[in-house]
Symmetry: C2
Subunit: 201 residues, 2 copies
């Protein structure tokens, strides 16, 4: 049996990273994980999905620690518990199946595993503004821009809090690509090309 491989995808907000990741998984015929990892965490911990959802991909805010911690769990913020449990699940999944994982510091979580390709998707601000305006039917570019900056800030502080690495296209990534050059489908093809060479697909 061929070994499993994992493609992790980090992404700037509005770069189309999630859509690219989903199409990539589909075209390779492998599993796709992003927000849906929360359901597995909920099953395992007993937390409610909507509470986990608020903490998803966020570093702990001091106020979050006010949530009640279900009995039997270690004390810590819900964000920390989510990160820790999600990390275990990511490691288990990576052992048993090939998959694409979006965000969740998966590149860091799987840093000791072979057969991982770490990709980061970015795009110029104008392209991201256009994408977010289109997607959320926003009329004013500046509103989209503020939302992008806010979301990037949340992702950055989440990533840096749990990994001590710099967020964004950087060390630890094997490929960083500007999705505005080839578009969503062209970017999927490029990553697929690299994964094919890397994993002998």
């Amino acid at each position: 049996m061929a070994e499993n491989y994992v493609i992790t995808i980090g992404r700037e907000y509005g770069s189309g990273g999630r859509e690219i990741a989903e199409k990539l998984a589909k075209s390779l015929g492998i599993s796709f994980y992003d927000k849906n990892l929360i359901n597995k965490v909920a099953e395992k911990t007993g937390y409610q999905v909507d509470i986990l959802d608020k903490a998803d991909e966020k570093a702990a805010h001091p106020l979050f620690s006010a949530y009640n911690i279900p009995p039997g769990l270690d004390v810590g913020t819900i964000n920390d518990r989510l990160f820790s449990c999600q990390s275990s699940i990511i490691k288990e999944l990576a052992q048993k199946e090939s998959c694409v994982i979006v965000g969740r510091c998966a590149d860091y979580v799987l840093r000791d595993m072979n057969n991982v390709l770490n990709v980061f998707i970015q795009a110029p601000m104008e392209a991201r503004i256009a994408r977010i305006m289109d997607r959320y039917l926003i009329d004013v570019p500046n509103i989209a821009k503020k939302e992008i900056q806010r979301e990037d800030k949340i992702r950055r502080s989440y990533y840096q809090f749990y990994t001590d690495r710099k967020w964004g296209g950087n060390l630890g990534h094997h490929l960083v690509i500007d999705s505005s050059v080839l578009g969503v489908d062209g970017t999927v093809d490029l990553i697929r090309y690299m994964a094919g060479k890397r994993f002998g697909l």
Copy 2:
């Protein structure tokens, strides 16, 4: 006649970036520019090649300004003169032929031109150490590592001095790739694949 296109290649020291760039140019059948740009600058300015060579890809050191400035040229460090003249030559070349240009802030110099693909090559420190040890017959990994850190520092301060941008895989690059994943030839193929899609080759 098809439009010209330019591929700029920035690179960490020891990542194999120059070799990748040269092979890429060869495989595309287009011109290759790196240190050889200095000869064109020498022709144009009357500076001696060996003096230009010392200033190549370096931000001005205060002592460099002690070099005599040939009559008729603006006052400024030789590094500034080199950068300015080299930038004009890069712009002229980009207008008249397709080419691959290594370093020299070419991504920044050509920022207003269409048909430019900006690539940055990086690699993990261990891979770079191995490459430099092999290339310069160095026996001690730490000596190679110090040389790498020193060269990166020079390139970083040169790039940041003239562009006000952060050096390294970052905004302004369309593709950042870790050359240790696919090796020199595999990395050439990947960039070629992307350039082919981008420029309709």
